[in-house]
Symmetry: C2
Amino acid sequence: MALQTETEEKIIASAEKLFYQKGKAGTSMQDIGDDAGINRTLLNYYFRSKDQLFEAVFRKAMGRFVPNLAAMLHSDISFEEYIPALVETVIDTMIENPQISIFVLQELSSNQDRMPQIMKEMGINPAFALKKMEEERVIKVTGGMDSRQVILNLISLCIFPFAAKPVVLDILYNGDNEAYIVAMKERKKIIPQLMKQLLS
Amino acid sequence: MALQTETEEKIIASAEKLFYQKGKAGTSMQDIGDDAGINRTLLNYYFRSKDQLFEAVFRKAMGRFVPNLAAMLHSDISFEEYIPALVETVIDTMIENPQISIFVLQELSSNQDRMPQIMKEMGINPAFALKKMEEERVIKVTGGMDSRQVILNLISLCIFPFAAKPVVLDILYNGDNEAYIVAMKERKKIIPQLMKQLLS
DNA sequence: GTCTATATTGTGATAGAC
DNA sequence: GTCTATCACAATATAGAC
């Protein structure tokens, strides 16, 4: 990764903020320039096109949590042993940037055809992961439940409360953001306990 | 709800399909007209503006699953008794239209400020729901865990696997949609069992 | 109700002065 | 590297003929 000028960093910061919030189509180059306090045409100078600026932001976002997932899916260690550390880092990432999950999910949903290529680039090997899951199921680490369902449960419990933050905040925490954050931090303990219970 | 002409129905159907897929900003009136096989300007004739057409689609989407949630949050019956039926209907709704969850979450995330008003319109009363949760916690239905965390777990397990369908399909089910659907149907049994285990 | 024509504005992108 | 001016095009929306 090359060194970035200050201007370039400002652009990326604003682009991240706005793309996360409004998505690719919902954000104009003008919006980003204004937010960064930088002339619109400089965005083209640095990133050539909106597409390429977006790609930079998207890849950075994916890079924030895909490696955690990949490590779990590919390592020699069992899923179970990975859970506490994974939950901790994922939740911390989400607390820092609650909109990242919905951003990534939305863009992946709009471009389903690109999924296999993206996974490859991110270093995830589905075939290998499936084999690992199959082996773990055989040695009954998962208490008889399909390993894929176990993984799905784990990830769902970690990420959904952030993807649905606006609703959760309003209905369950009455708009109190502090209370919401406290609850999310509590989940770092709750989720591993819960998974342990399921796997026994 | 007034009677709709055939043309109006076609427009709504195409608008739903495209808004779900590409979001509000990512879909043009032209796209919708083309998909419906209808002249672009007729969309304005029937719905006046893109904003109003979008509102119609959004409200219809919310109406598909908010009532289920509202019923659980407001009824006299305990959450626990509601679980199997809720899981069944939510999962069925999601299977029929996998992109609805990400669509709703994305739009709510883009317009967080509108949340309280939307909840009101949808007939959800956060204060009432919270009171009910507090009572249930007191009578220890939730095995000591905060009721809000229980609700959060339940909803996460139901919805996330659909919001993340592209990733889940690719990594866990190797692109096999049939296998994915079968797994989602299995969750109708898995989730209630799991919740029961948690609440005991 | 449905079409064509048109007004108006917004957007991505580049050329060229400094 | 940064700005102004400009281009080509796409978007929403409306007026008005039929």
